[in-house]
């Protein structure tokens, strides 16, 4: 039972990758099974609709309030953290953020880093950056560890290795770690535990993400089930947290509903096994905990999204993954097809601000606009609305001044001309009649292949007589009764 299934290659564009993924039966089964179960878990975790909707509304307001004071809150957070003994750094680009992290490691002459789960560090491609500079950066979340061991990227923001089944993991561990092949999930996890525990003990620096940064108290809040987050933030002598500037909330009580929304939406759990609130490095009389704690605040396009009142809503995101779990497109094509750090609906609305629409021109249209994502989003981001907006930005001409990074990536003069012609045709009666006359007479001449439409449908052929014609005839015959 240890078949090796080819993993979707990260080449070509969204369409090419989607085709490969769609043809991969195993991949589709892995995703379908996982997403069905995650959807059910979420539904079970919110049995009371009224309670759920009240909480979502509150979550939305808390984030909107935080964003409406974002620069002030960031300054307050910085001041509080500094008081608590945490060093705060700011980075506009991922390059700057990597330099900062590398600098901290170098100052300690560190060579080994363990990392708790952090999507921002994925944005930074921190593992590669550090590896190139002789620093080993090891993922310690089980899913992330598996993915890293296989030289892959995460395919889901909460469940990084969800595209693999146990047999694939068993073979991977056998090949890379030299252990006996076992399809017992418990045994596989114990192998990971043993290997990583040594790494936690030896690491010079621990890196983590942040779920919520609390300005009021200068506290970094992290959620997790495994304990690898606590290990990474507690065992090594230095802890570096990296996070996006949108993660700050005003006060401690604000995290009560957000935490509940996050864990219930993501995993259907009332709470994660660990909620880890870090408010400073080891104090003089304490016996463990890192001697230094750093926070790196990363912009990477977020301030660009912030500048647009509608797009600002993308910064509400608490990275729960519910939108991808409920997305019919994501479930079928899997996370790697998106080719970027954040897949699924959330990826489609945040990625353009980070890398520009030129790099992800198909993202806004890879959606059926069914609305499931917006319906489940715990902080009520109107994802379908933002996708439509991005579609518009995507086809704006340079003269129309697209507002999103690299907007107009799909602008085509030919397409514009066709639409202009179509408008004139439909708003000029004489022209319209002439067109109808031609279309019905020469109906046999319509093309048999009209792009993707004819992959699964027969090409449309105009009727012999137009509806106008038939109606006129009918009225003439029946005298308009």
């Amino acid at each position: 039972m240890s078949q090796r299934i080819p993993v979707t290659e990260l080449t070509g564009g969204f369409r090419d990758r989607a085709e490969v993924a769609l043809a991969d039966g195993q991949l589709r089964t892995n995703f379908r099974t996982a997403m069905d179960s995650l959807m059910k878990k979420r539904a079970d975790a919110f049995p009371d609709e009224e309670e759920r909707e009240g909480l979502r509304e509150l979550g939305n307001r808390i984030k909107a309030r935080a964003l409406s004071r974002l620069p002030d809150l960031l300054e307050q957070l910085e001041a509080k953290l500094t008081d608590n003994g945490v060093q705060v750094h700011w980075a506009e680009t991922t390059e700057q953020a990597n330099e900062i992290v590398h600098g901290i490691i170098q100052a300690r002459q560190g060579t080994q880093v363990v990392k708790g789960k952090s999507m921002v560090s994925e944005e930074m491609e921190m593992n590669d950056y550090l590896a190139e500079r002789g620093v080993e950066c090891l993922e310690s979340d089980m899913g992330e560890y598996i993915v890293q061991l296989d030289g892959e990227k995460p395919s889901h923001i909460i469940m990084p290795a969800i595209h693999k089944n146990r047999y694939q993991v068993a073979r991977l561990f056998h090949d890379k770690l030299g252990v006996d092949e076992t399809d017992d999930v418990n045994e596989l996890i114990q192998i990971g535990r043993r290997t990583l525990r040594r790494k936690f003990m030896e690491a010079d620096v621990g890196v983590s993400g942040v779920n919520f940064a609390i300005a009021e108290t200068g506290t970094l809040l992290l959620v997790e089930n495994e304990g690898n987050g606590r290990m990474s933030t507690t065992a090594p002598p230095v802890h570096v947290a990296v996070t996006g500037i949108e993660k700050v909330v005003e006060n401690l009580r604000d995290v009560v509903p957000l935490l509940s929304l996050l864990t219930r939406s993501a995993l259907g759990q009332p709470i994660t096994t660990y909620v880890n609130l870090i408010s400073g490095p080891r104090k003089a009389d304490e016996l463990d905990g890192p001697e230094e704690v750093h926070l790196v605040l990363l912009d990477n396009g977020r301030s660009g999204a912030f500048a647009d009142a509608q797009m600002r809503q993308t910064l509400n995101c608490i990275r729960c993954g519910a939108c991808m779990n409920h997305c019919p497109v994501y479930t079928r094509v899997g996370g790697h097809t998106y080719g970027e750090v954040y897949p699924g609906p959330i990826g489609k609305i945040v990625t353009p601000h980070m890398v520009g629409l030129h790099q992800v021109p198909d993202h806004p249209s890879a959606s059926s606009l069914c609305g499931a994502c917006g319906e489940v989003c715990p902080v009520k981001i109107p994802i379908p609305e933002l996708l439509q907006r991005l579609r518009q930005e995507n086809v704006k001409s340079p003269a129309e001044g697209p507002k999103v990074k690299d907007g107009g990536a799909k602008y085509s003069r030919k397409e514009r001309l066709i639409w202009r012609f179509w408008r004139t045709l439909n708003s000029t009666p004489a022209l319209y009649r002439l067109f109808l006359w031609g279309a019905t007479r020469f109906r046999k001449l319509t093309p048999k292949h009209v792009g993707p439409w004819t992959q699964n449908h027969t090409a449309p052929v105009p009727a012999k007589r137009s509806l106008h014609d038939l109606a006129r005839e009918h009225l003439a015959r029946n005298g308009g009764q």
């Binding site: 892995n30 996982a34 506009e92 290795a161 304990g227 009332p270 709470i271 096994t273 500048a307």
Partner: protein, 223 residues
Amino acid sequence: MSARSNILNKLRTGLAGSIPRPDDFDERLVTEPWQYAPEDRVMRLRNLMEAVHTEVHQVRSDDWPEKVAAILAERELGNLLHAPATVHGQQLAVHWEQSGSHVQLLAYDRPVEEWKEELFWQVDASITGTVGAIAATGSLVLWPDRHEPRLMSLLPPLHIALLKASEIEDNLYAMMQRQNWSAGLPTNLLLVSGPSKTADIEQVLAYGAHGPKELVVLILEDA
């Protein structure tokens, strides 16, 4: 210009002309669905914790050390990390002496660096106090300090936690208010809701990922 001022300037430009949203936090939304009669509180906590593989015992404040001894004996463990300077640590030590237990009592009495290897690999179990628990989510609240440092509840495969029944709150919001968390937090505050676990392979739940494989909670009913 520094990255800091660039970012802040961009954000401020983005906000030009707008006013901050009012703070209309409605605390009823996070309290009302999560309130319990005093007699149900322990049951709720127990049910939720047991659902995620936590072993829960209701004991008395004078006989819990016996229970600890029994738990260790059942598992044939060789040592237990405790905090000698705490009240419960002393209570435990007294019982150990009177009963002549063979399980070695260890103390976290030096910085982690001085005994990392031993602490990471050779401690079988630990016992710590808690500062309360939350019935709504089935969570213990741990407030690590010099006597019960952070790693004490994380590294040993078995973690035993003592909880006073009177310190169980209905929900997280109530807990924050009662303990006035806004006024000052420890360097590391923890909510613990079961033994460490993962579902990263095929969503199959496996316990003992990186932290304790087992969590045992002793609820002191008369405390």
